[in-house]
């Protein structure tokens, strides 16, 4: 009995929705195009989903706390340019450079968190600011020109294969295993839910919410930088325009995956599915020779549909919330009467 209840109450229900959509899409695509189900194409989809997928793992944490991170696209670009500059212009060790880039991403994320908890700025504004700063610095550093021709060891990050599987896909899977465990099994994950569930209650329960928010934004910044490495390695070039509009794709993937924008609910597996859905749609539309212009329209509609589902789901919550309202407002008479 208890086991059944646990199942219906966990987030599996929501992820099931996204998973169903993904499977449905795959069926439709495989009927529409004979090329869709080929191994090369499937690997292609996976590889194309890795950038959004990797960052979406961190963004899920951010959104569960009730926040948002608009800076991931710019951080991706700046980190990849700095790392590329270290490797190409200064001929530094590849792994030291990669590490430095990721640390830079984490630091920018930490700045986000710091402004959000200490000032405090709304997450939207803080990360919007860093979005501009990071993008601008990327232009300043590169002068607008791409940095290219990397050593093979670096290119492996984006182009390498392990057996039939592209290395970025393996990287993404590792990221998801780590972030799944972080979310479900550690204090960090639990407090992430707690902050989004009710920040005031979390503070009054003795949780240092500021510290945990800073960690969450730092992790997201680090993942954005990591995605930047993968992208630069795949293209064999780092540019200051990379990842323009990327943050919105990432947020879309998280939301499509069933994480609620109002915080407190959701999970990383859903976001992975969300990223795959976006990958399948893009890939499928390419196979069907739909122009990239129309692809934008269709992806926009998919995002709208997903958020509509989110809103409708919340509306159920909202109805309950209004029922509570009488009790919450400081009207003692009403409190008694509305029992």
């Amino acid at each position: 009995m208890r086991k059944i209840l646990r199942k219906t109450n966990s987030s599996i229900g929501k992820e099931l929705g996204a998973l169903t959509a993904l499977v449905l899409l795959c069926v439709i695509m495989s009927i529409s195009s004979p090329h869709f189900l080929s191994l090369t194409n499937l690997m292609n989809i996976l590889r194309q989903s890795t950038l959004i997928g990797i960052v979406a793992a961190g963004m899920t944490f951010v959104i569960i706390t009730g926040g948002i991170d608009l800076s991931v696209g710019s951080v991706l670009s700046l980190a990849s340019c700095i790392t590329a500059g270290m490797i190409v212009n200064h001929e530094m060790n590849v792994w030291v450079s990669v590490f430095a880039g990721i640390i830079l991403g984490a630091f920018l994320g930490f700045l986000n968190g710091l402004m959000i908890t200490c000032i405090p700025l709304p997450p939207f504004i803080a990360t919007l600011g860093i979005m501009g700063v990071a993008r601008g610095l990327a232009f300043v550093y590169t002068g607008g020109a791409p940095i290219y021709t990397f050593p093979e060891s670096f290119k492996f990050l984006g182009q390498g294969m392990i057996g039939p599987i592209p290395f970025p896909v393996i990287l993404m899977v590792v990221v998801y295993i780590i972030f799944y465990i972080l979310l479900k099994r550690t204090k960090l994950g639990r407090y992430t839910y707690a902050i989004g569930g009710n920040e005031e209650a979390a503070i009054l329960s003795g949780i240092p919410t500021g510290r945990y928010k800073a960690i969450v934004y730092s992790l997201t910044g680090a993942l954005a930088a990591l995605a930047g490495m993968v992208l630069a390695a795949r293209l064999d070039a780092a540019t200051s325009v990379a990842g323009d509009g990327f943050e919105l794709d990432v947020i879309a993937a998280v939301v499509i995956g069933g994480t609620s924008l109002s915080g407190g609910q959701g999970g990383v597996i859903g976001s992975l599915i969300g990223a795959l859905i976006m990958g399948v749609v893009r890939n499928g539309l390419n196979l069907l020779l739909v122009s990239s212009h129309w692809q934008r329209v269709i992806l926009g509609i998919i995002i709208l549909a997903a958020v509509t589902v989110d809103v409708l789901r919340k509306k159920g919550v909202f109805l309950k919330a209004t029922k509570y309202k009488g009790v919450i407002k400081g009207d003692p008479d009403q409190v008694q009467e509305s029992i």
């Binding site: 208890r2 209840l5 646990r6 109450n9 966990s10 465990i181 099994r185 550690t186 204090k187 639990r190 407090y191 839910y193 707690a194 569930g197 009710n198 005031e200 209650a201 979390a202 503070i203 009054l204 329960s205 003795g206 949780i207 240092p208 407190g264 609910q265 919550v317 309950k320 509570y324 009790v327 919450i328 407002k329 400081g330 009207d331 003692p332 008479d333 009403q334 409190v335 008694q336 009467e337 509305s338 029992i339």
Partner: protein, 496 residues
């Protein structure tokens, strides 16, 4: 009788699921009088006003306005009938100007599309002048004091041609001088033949402003009387009335040493030189009116708010409490007044809500031991008799009483030695109340000390070993269990 009644309510009955909020209540209002409506929390004042304002529909009864029977459909209809309610939380738009607020939704128009600002200003000016209120029409409401905002509400009511104005606790947020100004305005309204229903917990001011008083108790009509004909004590007796047949379980606990002492705690404009102490095994009640500073004091002690002066001693040692984390480290737990906004993560499961205060005890090698966590949560759920289908149930699906027990459970988990209960039984049913009382008794029996803030006097008297009474951010009285009566507490609570 020959007198004109602007409003008569007869045999008003209203039932909410499980609660008879109003039972055959009569109320009448003479033309140009100020009629006080008083009663304890839950007496039915708000329900009566909500029926009058169209927010609730009555189940039985009749309402006459100017001797004509009416059936009030909704708030808009009530306004058309000349009824205006000025709520405690004012309904103004902060960033619109004074005159825009007065005519919001009823602007004078130049034509179909454009607002005639000149005309609106002119009309607003006339209204304010009639009330002898000096406020700049162009100012935004956000710049005004609470008292001035109230005046704007009054002007707004006049602009709707209200002849019955209900004021819900208009003085609760005002200083003395502002109250004077308000009373002047009320007298102005009276002289224009407008009738006022005046709700207030500050009893002594009634004699200054009101002509008659109607007392409600537990949804029943008790009495209507000329205020001149009665004393404050008589009025309190009418309000309190009921026998305090004890739903409060007895306890016999020997008091131990002092665990908490607060000396000279002050927070500007909120708390003034608060000193008190608490002993092991003791339940200390904090009584006072809404806004007297009790919750603010508890938030300071718990580190949720800062204070400028004063020292907190825990077991005789001066400690610095700068955050809830500090307070928790010193063994303090805080069961907040508003469990939904401050106590619970409603969309998270029972288990997570209980273990949130001390997750560390389940951490093994960086990971949460889910099995251990669940077992501990289950134990507490069983111990506190929390009714839930399982540990994974979202807390919002539980009843108020069970939610409250979850808040208590999380502090039991943390083994808090000093527990602050802020309005612990607000909005929960009688059975659950008794369980909460039993829990408090169990806690002090096991060596904890409890501070209980409550606006329900029977609860304060029934549960406390000692009672502190607060008013205007100060402690105005300290009573032992033997001394504490509702009359004495109310007297201290309304002391200026």
């Amino acid at each position: 009788m020959g007198e004109n009644y602007s409003l008569q309510m007869k045999g008003i009955t209203k039932e909410f699921p499980g609660v008879l909020a109003l039972n055959n209540v009569d109320f009448n209002l003479k033309e140009g009088e100020v009629h006080a409506l008083i009663g304890e929390n839950g007496a039915g004042k708000s329900t009566l006003i909500k029926i009058l304002s169209g927010a609730h529909q009555m189940d039985r009864g009749e309402i006459f306005i100017n001797n004509k029977k009416v059936a009030i459909q909704n708030p808009r209809h009530a306004q058309e009938l000349g009824i205006s309610v000025i709520y405690q939380e004012l309904n103004l738009v902060p960033y619109l100007s004074v005159y825009e607020n007065i005519f919001l939704g009823r602007e004078h128009m130049r034509n179909k599309y454009f607002i005639d600002h000149k005309e609106n200003k002119l009309k607003a000016k006339a209204l304010l002048e009639a009330l002898e209120i000096k406020i700049d029409l162009e100012q935004t409401v956000a710049e005004l004091s609470v008292a001035q905002q109230q005046m704007i509400e009054v002007a707004k009511a006049l602009s709707m041609n209200a002849n019955i104005i209900v004021m819900d606790e208009p003085t609760s947020a005002l200083g003395n001088r502002e109250i004077e100004q308000l009373f002047k305005t009320i007298k102005k309204l009276k002289s224009r033949g407008i009738s006022i229903i005046y709700i207030s917990h500050r009893l002594e001011e009634l004699w200054e402003i009101a002509d008659r008083v109607t007392v409600l108790r537990d949804g029943q009509y008790v009495a209507t009387s000329d205020l001149k004909a009665m004393t404050k004590d008589e009025l309190i007796k009418l309000m309190v009335g009921r026998d305090l047949t004890e739903q409060f379980p007895k306890r016999e606990v020997a008091l131990g040493e002092e665990v908490l002492r607060v000396e000279g705690l002050s927070r500007r404009g909120v708390l003034d030189n608060i000193s008190f102490n608490l002993r092991r095994g003791e339940v200390v009640g904090f009584a006072g009116l809404v806004g007297s500073g009790r919750t603010e004091l508890m938030r300071c002690i718990f580190g949720a708010d800062r204070f400028e002066q004063g020292t907190i001693y825990i077991e005789q040692n001066a400690v610095e409490i700068k955050s809830p984390q500090d307070a928790i480290k010193h063994g303090i737990g805080f069961i907040t007044e508003d469990r939904k906004r401050q106590g619970l993560m409603l969309i998270r499961p029972v288990k997570e809500n209980i273990t949130i205060t001390d997750l560390d005890q389940f951490i093994k090698h960086l990971f949460i031991d889910h099995g251990q966590e669940e077992k501990t949560a289950e134990d507490l759920v069983e111990k506190l008799k929390i009714k839930t289908p399982g540990m994974e149930q979202e807390v919002r699906n539980l009843s108020g009483g069970n939610q409250q027990k979850i808040v208590i459970a999380k502090w039991l988990l943390k083994n808090a030695k000093i527990l602050i209960f802020d309005e612990p039984t607000r909005g929960i049913d009688v059975g659950a109340k008794k369980e909460v009382y039993n829990l408090i008794n169990l806690l002090v029996k096991n060596g904890a000390a409890v501070i209980m803030v409550s606006s329900e006097l029977p609860e304060i008297i029934g549960m406390s070993d000692r009672v502190y009474v607060m008013s205007h951010g100060r402690i105005t009285g300290e009573l032992t269990a033997q001394e504490a009566t509702q009359e004495k507490i109310l007297a201290y609570a309304t002391k200026e």
